[in-house]
């Protein structure tokens, strides 16, 4: 891991110094234990700040989209002959590159707008799982050493197996190496355990309708409508979200719990063939809503029905933007 970090910094520095990119979006150390936070590096000297470890959570493709679209927006006010191109470098793990593939398929920007520094990924730590392991205590200090996580809390030090605190989406990740990249750092990471990726969904499907409804309403009842899930999602890039449209107004924001259910339901549904299972939405949710339980179902159905896995290949377009004559239609009612 350290070796990767070192190479990453070197490559980033070079890219910036040679002006092949205008900015590099990566992770830097955060202010709290076990946090790495997105950073934007423009000065080659600052490439030293970059980190790559099990605390790097967010899908950086979100920021790639933001930076490029903001730049394009700002260029509209510039005379055509004076317009500048902005190239964004990004530290891309498997899921982030899937999102970039998706952005490219959805014509959000061109391949030339982004330089992907591919990194192999072995998963990130799920803060909520970690909290459970240490009994909800505050982490005072922490580090990852090999396959062990060392945590210091007020009641002492503890060593936890990394695998026990890795996020669920990482544990069963099918694409933990970049789908596309311009520069690849290090060797491909060993595969995770994708054979079990739908276990949870399968178990949930086997519950009764009422049990599933009870779970759905319980989870959505936690939502405080801060929209962190939407904001962090690389696939949620609409300029005006349906939630904020006022003419017509699709969904209310308060009074009734069904409004929140409908908001979440429709946001989730917008992820058909577009969710790369990066886990960012679940990771950022301050209320711990189990969004993945539902997103993974869409992923499963997308594969079962249309053989699609979002962003897994440039040649495999989002399933709802295409069709096949012989698509399954056993759900069609025939009286």
């Amino acid at each position: 891991m350290e070796n990767i970090e070192k190479k990453l910094r070197e490559e980033a520095k070079l890219l910036l110094a040679e002006k092949r990119v205008d900015v590099i979006i990566g992770y830097e150390k955060g202010t709290l234990p076990f946090t790495a936070t997105p950073c934007f590096i423009t000065d080659p000297e600052n490439a030293e700040k970059l980190v790559w470890n099990a605390c790097c959570v967010q899908n950086l493709a979100k920021f790639v989209h933001d930076v490029i679209s903001q730049h394009k927006e700002s260029q509209k006010r510039v005379k055509p002959e004076d317009r500048k191109k902005k190239v964004v470098g990004v530290v891309g793990r498997g899921c982030a590159t899937r999102s970039i593939v998706l952005h490219l398929q959805e014509k959000q920007y061109d391949r030339g707008d982004v330089v992907i520094i591919g990194v192999p990924c072995t998963g990130y730590i799920d803060g909520k799982k970690l909290a459970v392991q240490i009994g909800g205590e505050e982490v005072l200090e922490g580090s990852v050493e090999g396959d062990q996580v060392k945590v210091k809390t007020a009641s002492g030090e503890k060593s936890i197996t990394l695998k026990d605190v890795l996020a669920d989406n990482c544990l069963t990740c099918r694409f933990n190496n970049p789908i596309i990249s311009d520069i690849m750092i290090g060797e491909n990471a060993p595969p995770m355990d994708p054979d079990h990726e739908y276990d949870e969904v399968g178990a949930f499907e086997n519950l009764s309708t009422e049990e599933r409804w009870a779970y759905f309403t319980k989870e959505m009842g936690k939502c405080i409508r801060c929209y962190a899930c939407r904001q962090v999602c690389p696939s949620c890039y609409c300029k005006v979200c349906f939630v904020e449209q006022s003419q017509p107004r699709w969904v209310g924001i308060g009074a009734d719990e069904t409004d929140t259910q409908v908001f979440q339901l429709m946001r989730l549904f917008h992820m058909v063939g577009r969710c790369v299972d990066c886990g960012s939405c679940s990771a950022v949710c301050p209320m711990g809503v189990d969004l993945r339980k539902f997103l993974k179902k869409l992923d499963k159905d997308g594969f079962d029905l249309f053989g699609n896995r979002a962003g897994s290949s440039m040649d495999d377009p989002p399933p709802l933007s295409t069709y096949k004559e012989n698509d399954k239609q056993d759900f069609i009612f025939d009286p």
């Binding site: 309708t209 409804w213 399933p319 239609q329 009612f333």
Partner: protein
Amino acid sequence: MSETKTTEGWEPKIVAIVCNWCTYAGADLAGISRIQYPPNVRIVRVPCTGRINPFYVVKALQEGADGVLVSGCHPGECHYITGNLHARRKFAMLKNFLSYIGLEEDRTIFTWVSASEGERFAQVIKGVTEKVRALGPANKLVKKIA
């Protein structure tokens, strides 16, 4: 069927979102041919099933529809060539997903009815009404206010 919820005097309210070229014409034909079918549907006409935002279905449920029917042209007969084929994918996903979160499967029904199928239209409405009647009044995702 031990615990079917039926409220005294309750009649299912069904929103049917249908395409202009096939199913709406089919409904017309049913009318012209004086074919009887239950009066429980409220028809919303759209140009093509491909135009239907899945939100329409959810919104109808939230506003209190006991069931939602979506019907368009048979595959291969779309006025816009492939609108219904795109729609088919959307609705396959939507139906599964609504059922997954715990909505009764028969609240949302998708089908095809062509312009010449007046009889089929009546059969569809009959079938849907029966299915929804068996489920009883919708109580999930239904907005309440005040």
